[in-house]
Symmetry: C2
């Protein structure tokens, strides 16, 4: 129930039915409109407040955030390359390099919490913003969980594919560091030898705590930034 209300409110904000900066109807009114209790309505708006889309001013009202969209977009965006590019007015493009089924490396197995004799599928891709290479992405998923996914299913959107299979996504753990990539990746990213890359390792989990993907990404250091907001 409260998730449906959240989605509906988010839509109304995106459609500018609630204008940026304006005050929302009071919690009591909105609860009436959605025919739920005020506590339930607050569960919905709390999610939007945490996302930065709404702003609460005690004693005054609940407001549509002015521009905070940017920050929270960037926050979410780390998991969606397409979103980041779009928010910068660029078109995300992808070049498929290869997909293969194989036994996992030590680091893949430990991050996906499987043993080394359980097969995984790895896909490598270059990500572009307009026509500039931005990132080299290596995605690994366990066969035991996702089945024998095809190239098209995987490249067409792993998340969508898994969602349709009934999986629900939970937390993700990310680890950033910096390094100078190997020659092959430097070439793919148009990096002069010796230029730095932001290196991200991400493990994503289902709601039951099972890891379903392990992604290693090299971002061209001079063309990419990660924004985060604390508190």
């Amino acid at each position: 129930m409260f998730l449906r209300i959240r989605d509906d409110l988010a839509k109304r904000i995106d459609k500018q039915q609630f204008e940026s900066g304006s005050r929302l109807p009071s919690e009591r009114l909105l609860a009436q409109e959605y025919k739920v209790s005020r506590m339930t309505l607050r569960q919905a708006t709390t999610l939007l407040v945490n996302q930065g889309k709404l702003l609460r001013k005690p004693g005054s009202g609940t407001y549509v955030s002015a521009q905070n969209n940017e920050v929270s977009e960037n926050l979410k965006g780390v998991t969606s390359f397409t979103q980041i590019m779009r928010s910068q007015g660029k078109t995300a493009k992808t070049k498929f390099i290869f997909l293969k089924r194989h036994q996992p490396s030590l680091i893949e197995a430990s991050n996906l919490e499987i043993s080394r004799d359980q097969d995984v599928i790895t896909m490598e891709r270059v990500r572009y913003g307009d026509d500039e290479p931005i990132a080299y992405e290596i995605t690994t998923v366990p066969v035991a969980l996702v089945g024998n996914i095809t190239r098209n299913e995987m490249a067409g959107g792993l998340y969508q594919y898994l969602e349709e299979k009934g999986f629900r996504f939970g937390k993700a753990i990310q680890e950033f560091s910096a390094l100078v990539p190997n020659v092959n990746i430097c070439k793919r990213l148009d990096l002069t030898n010796g230029q730095a890359a932001l290196f991200l390792r991400q493990t994503s989990y289902l709601t039951d705590g099972k890891p379903f993907e392990f992604v290693q990404t090299y971002y061209a250091g001079d063309r990419y930034r990660v924004y985060l907001q604390r508190e």
Copy 2:
């Protein structure tokens, strides 16, 4: 009320009164113990779930996370070098390089939201884990806000100094990228020429939205990682 319960539960977890991995008393029991309604008790535990300290398994119970402490420590730790080192069993040391009062650069002025004729104070330091250099930190604060802070006050803990002056801290925005630092910083960090550094820019704000510090940090790429948890 629910904040007090959260703090109390957190203490009991830290004291291992609730052991790592074990099941907590049910929400109904804990609510009884704290003499609050179940909804209020859930407000408290929800905060700990979001922090990663607790784990809910519907139909089964609420559990103390096994090791997830690391992650949330790392999350907080990004703003406190000392904490990160301690969590890795290392001792944080600091070497003071210099402190000077000067007119801000363009980037300093814009991040601190001041004009270029308003003085700032900049401090540069090397941060060590045990005896290994980990980070080169450049901290800039506006004189108009913090006054003519001395070297000891600033190096002894800017946050403590400001807190004593009655300031309250709000959000912080961080931006990560990767680069190869200049020769001077490479030397300070014992980096061979050409090694990469994780570059962090952070602007920290007071509760009223005024920026009070702008920090630029170069982390030795091979000796430092930033961990984040999403959702």
